[in-house]
Assembly symmetry: C2
Homo-oligomer: 351 residues x 2
């Protein structure tokens, strides 16, 4: 062939060793795999020049400490979710998920072609960071419930594990909101310490065994219509990279972003079937409940935007993009799916 | 910083020049941009070692001749759509779009995590090619019509430009099917030589000026619920690449795949609004029409699978994946969107 590996030999056999701290446990192999995929791609693209060691949550820093650890330069890289850092600025949530927000395809469009990457860069640069989308769970499920939820009144007094904006919404709906790390959820639900929990979706929820602790599995995941994970890079480190290594990280992040979603999408269907076979009962939140929760989310947005110029500006970009893309989807992708599901419902009814 | 560009200097300043033939005209900037994006990424990743010249359709070979041109080795690379090559084997269509098939997110999942890449490799290897997903239009529109289509009977005798499987379906529905290249569609529609045409979606259709030639714009694009474009690489050339260049092409294809869809998704909404402002009337095909067309597509599948072992095997993989992922989407992503659209319809009705 015209190419020879020797022609790509480096002037020096220099190896750069970088460390990546992940917010996720290795047991959640698809989401943790997003960080591993970036490490694999960098190794391949550079012919082994860039070696990245990935540490699962807790091995070096806690899962919610990734942002600070990369910001400080203690670690060059992180694989995490921006909405873990809403305590620093609630606007971080827009770059992962907000309740009643965007699907994965729509969120990618806002980030990559709708001006959101520039907003995200502005926010992260304050902490000496830059981030790129690097994985998506797709639309999540609404969670596991020990009893059925038929009306907004049924949410009053319900003790539920649900973090972030979803938790703020549920608090306003009258629930007692808890936040528990993944490893503690099963026992709390199984013993009735909590009445309900959300986690991710069929594949990950099955790994935690949540179907053994509660019978009712509600959709849709109004709290996370999609969830974008991200690669954090220390900004000083990133700026010191030669251009081809910067491009390698940006391109690897695209690959990880697309592959994680593909894997979740391919695995969630079979996992859902296994859950149903194990006795799980599927339920869908009523429009009345979802409408009430959406009203509470509007209140959360109003409160966050008040006195936070960046949040208000990001909300404006997000809302305009969301409204516009929904009108487009109404004509094409949603209209197509509406036919598919309405038609299958009629055929099941013998129509 | 710890990194210096010099550390990544090549042993020799070797430059490899490759040529890519595109099936698309440069005027359709988003779809043509998929090939340009791959060229840009390869340039960046290799620090300029790999230089790719991209030729629009017709500059070197015709838009439908890309497969043969790369298969023969006349050109190393192509950016095209597999379903242009159904004359060689109708199974090529599965790797771009089939009527009533998968959305972009679902098609990515089938290709990247559902076993379809392996099937595609098997098909392409027969012609000394390998292909990777490298762009998506998202769900397309159903097309432009000079008169309204209310029942399946209205399709009888209709002269429509619609290629591929969509055209076979419309033929079975009683239409007179034409195939015209993009540059000839406007005049044919404007003068009434054809009664209807499909093209892509708002952004691309506006570039062709189709809104000036017909008033009714129908959704959804049942014929292409999504359309995956692809990078073709001559297999001998690919096998001769060093591993880091192979990985660079695979990773660049992921980036191009994701970015093209993001760009279409971000641009179609504003383009749709401009079309409506120009007088375009939006319409949705009735369930009765879509049900009839879907029945015809089942006939096309049956005919193609008969005596074509590879088609039958691919159809089996595709159908099983489609049915499974639709059950998953029913609980989460579709349930979420169903609430969004039903609720907005009720609010518009004052409900």
């Amino acid at each position: 062939g015209a190419f020879s590996p020797l022609m790509f030999a480096r002037a020096q056999a220099s190896t750069f060793r970088l460390e990546m701290v992940s917010s996720f446990p290795a047991s959640l192999d698809i989401i943790y795999g997003g960080g591993e995929e970036i490490a694999r791609v960098l190794d391949e693209l550079t012919g082994g020049d860039v070696q990245i060691t990935v540490y699962p949550a807790g091995a070096q820093v806690g899962g919610f400490e990734v942002y600070d650890a990369v910001s400080s330069g203690a670690f060059a890289l992180g694989h995490s979710a921006a909405y873990y850092y809403v305590g620093r600025n609630p606007a971080h949530a827009f770059f992962t998920a907000v309740p009643f927000g965007l699907t994965a395809q729509q969120h990618n469009a806002w980030l990559m072609a709708g001006g959101a990457q520039e907003l995200w860069n502005e926010l992260n640069a304050q902490d000496n960071l830059i981030a790129f989308a690097a994985g998506n769970t797709g639309t999540q499920m609404g969670g596991w419930f020990r009893r059925e939820i038929n009306t907004p009144q049924d949410l009053r007094g319900l003790t539920m594990r649900i973090p972030g904006f979803g938790g703020e919404v549920m608090t306003r709906a009258g629930a007692n909101v808890q936040n528990l790390p993944g490893g503690e959820i099963f026992l709390a639900l199984d013993t009735g310490v909590i009445d309900a929990t959300e986690w991710v979706g069929p594949y990950d929820d099955e790994i935690l065994g949540l179907n053994q602790a509660a019978p009712f599995y509600y959709g849709p995941g109004w709290q996370e219509p999609s969830a974008t994970l991200c690669l954090y890079v220390n900004l000083d480190t990133y700026n010191a990279f030669p251009p081809e290594i910067q491009e390698a990280f940006r391109t690897a992040a695209h690959a990880a972003n697309e592959l994680m979603l593909a894997r979740y999408e391919a695995e969630n269907g079979p996992a859902l079937q296994r859950l149903v076979d194990s006795g799980t009962q599927l339920r869908t939140f009523s429009p009345e409940i979802l409408t009430a929760l959406r009203g509470h989310m509007d209140e959360v947005h109003d409160q966050n935007a008040s006195g936070n110029e960046f949040y208000a500006r990001t909300l404006e970009s997000f809302t305009a993009f969301r409204d516009n893309i929904r009108e487009w989807h109404r004509q094409a992708e949603y209209a197509f799916q509406n036919f598919i599901y309405d038609q299958s419902a009629q055929e099941e009814a013998g129509g």
